[in-house]
């Protein structure tokens, strides 16, 4: 990679990483933090506040990593690496 492509590649990688970490923070910290408020809502037969820490957040983490890799592959492809 030449200097300019390299810089662009890193800038895009960094911005993707920050977005991923924002989603991660929401589902690992903010949602479980507010579990009490979510108890009244029912989802697939579960109280929503319970559903997230036992299943929902976990599914989102798995999907998030697959999505991140898909996007990062595109960033890498565009930079020709």
């Amino acid at each position: 990679m030449d200097g300019e492509t390299k810089q662009r590649h890193w800038a895009r990688t960094r911005s993707l990483t920050f977005k991923v970490l924002a989603v991660w923070f929401i589902f690992s910290i903010i949602v479980p933090w507010n579990a009490k408020a979510l108890m009244g809502i029912s989802f697939l037969g579960f109280p929503l506040g319970y559903y997230f820490p036992v299943q929902g957040s976990l599914i989102i983490f798995v999907a998030l990593i697959f999505y991140q890799n898909y996007q990062q592959d595109k960033i890498d492809d565009d930079a020709g690496v």
């Binding site: 507010n34 009490k36 109280p47 957040s57 998030l64 890498d76």
Partner: protein
Amino acid sequence: MEGKFTDNLGRIYGLYTGGFIGFIILMAIFEQMGMGAATIGILFVAFTIVIYACIGWLSRTMEVSAYYVAGREVPTVYNGMATAADWMSGASFVALAGGIYFGGYSYLAFIVGWTGGYVLVNSLMAPYLRKFGCYTVPDFIGTRYGGNAARLCAVIVLVVASFTYVTAQINASGTIAARALQIPFEVGVYIGLLGILLCSMLGGMRAVTWTQVAQYIVLIIAYLIPVIWMSNTQGFGIIPHFSYGDAVARIQELEPALQLGAAAVDKPPFGGVKILSVPHFDPQGGMQSWSFATLAICMMMGTASLPHILMRYFTTPSVRDARRSVAYSLFFIFLLYFTAPALATLTKLQLLDPTLATSIIGKSIAEVQALPWVQNWSAVKMLWLNDGNGDGILQLNEFFMRADIVVLATPEIAGLPYVISGLVAAGGMAAAMSTADGLLLAIANALSHDLYYKIIDPKAETKTRLVVARVLLVVIGGLGAYIASMKLTGILGAVAWAFDFAMSGLFFPLVLGIWWKRANKSGAIAGMVLGFLAGTWYLYQVYFNGMTPWMGIDHLRFGIIGASVSLVSMVVVSLLTEEPDAETQAMVDATRDPSGEEVLSATH
């Protein structure tokens, strides 16, 4: 079979899985023909250990790259399975569901933390460390920051964190071996260690990789079959994961009627057992939310700094493969972690709900005491019940049990054949052995590669290096088994500590080494030393010296203190001292660039 071993993985492990299922069916037939429960247990554990040992023997090697990083030829899906086995310890397998059973909302922080951590691994660490081309985690620290002092600090943190963890694993493998093979615990610990060493000693990372894949297959089958079978026989749905919401609601409805939270009347004559006193799920917000968040953060940052996990991603062929294998790792881990809450919920409902045939609470004491599973587990001091108020009826606060029982006894509570209990024992053994293997190898590799080869004798020949690595493996394993045989630690306390130690000393030096070019040697050393010391001091004060925790940060969360000190000291010291030279900055650029040669040469 034609071609290389790695070309035939699908067929080999397909055959292996088929063989294992065949073995389960064979045992089920033997059980029908009248074979005793004890013999089935012995056959399950012994058969699987022999298989792992064979894989270890077949993977023996005298090549440095095969020994340290499995020749960097592990395909993504298999590396995912190996990481999942490496990751899921005896504690995950045996204690997780029990923790959920007893702990309610607060305990779920472990579930979120031990899965969410992989987002950090994928975002911040794995692909970059793979590009770097190191053999061990201290190898990265030592090369990025330069100098033996930084390398040595990383080795020390790694050894403390991993050793804390490995003792618990050897302890778990000893417990299971003792129960399944019917030998004393002190002997079981060494039998477990022997199995662990047979998997790792001759082939290093290569052998550990291929046994861990085999161990994952056993442990996931052993975890899923009992839950799904139990759910089907008890009418909770074909796949319980999607339908246990009703069970949660039913438990919440029953809890007040059963006087949940009433204090125990009696004191059990032995330790480790407790009554259920925490609601299944009743978040209070406020301080409880804060406790949840701090514990989850510790487990997540710890995950991203534990060397035995990070080094698994050094074994893939490329940077992209490293990323992909993180995704598969989390998927394979997820399969167990989203099953554990279902298991805990359904087992609890079976014991509590008076409309179910399996229930015991509210039944007459004499009737419950006559149940075979109650007698079996009472005999090994994992269960205790006593009619404290003398009314002849078993109350919730008269039923004491150990958390481990939830996984181990569920097949018996639900009335499944004994072959399932044997399978569960083999699964627990696989989980404990695979994690112990990864940890022992991480310690021995850091000592042989970083301490012996890089610091003490850089001219050592390949053969000497690999002999030193193996001697260290045996010595450390022996030491771990010796400490485990003294029964100093409970399983879960020590496991959480390992995460806190790792995040206190390693998280920021690793992350900033990649993400902040300005980070330099003095900063990294300050971050490792001060972070690690602050965390350790805080643990000592809170756990041994009776200090009141600051803001609810107790001994399970001391990494919060350690990592904060580490971050601040690393940034301040880096900024006060000179910028890293141009060569180091170019090295950071090369680490971020997925193309081109590895930063460290292939044979370093």
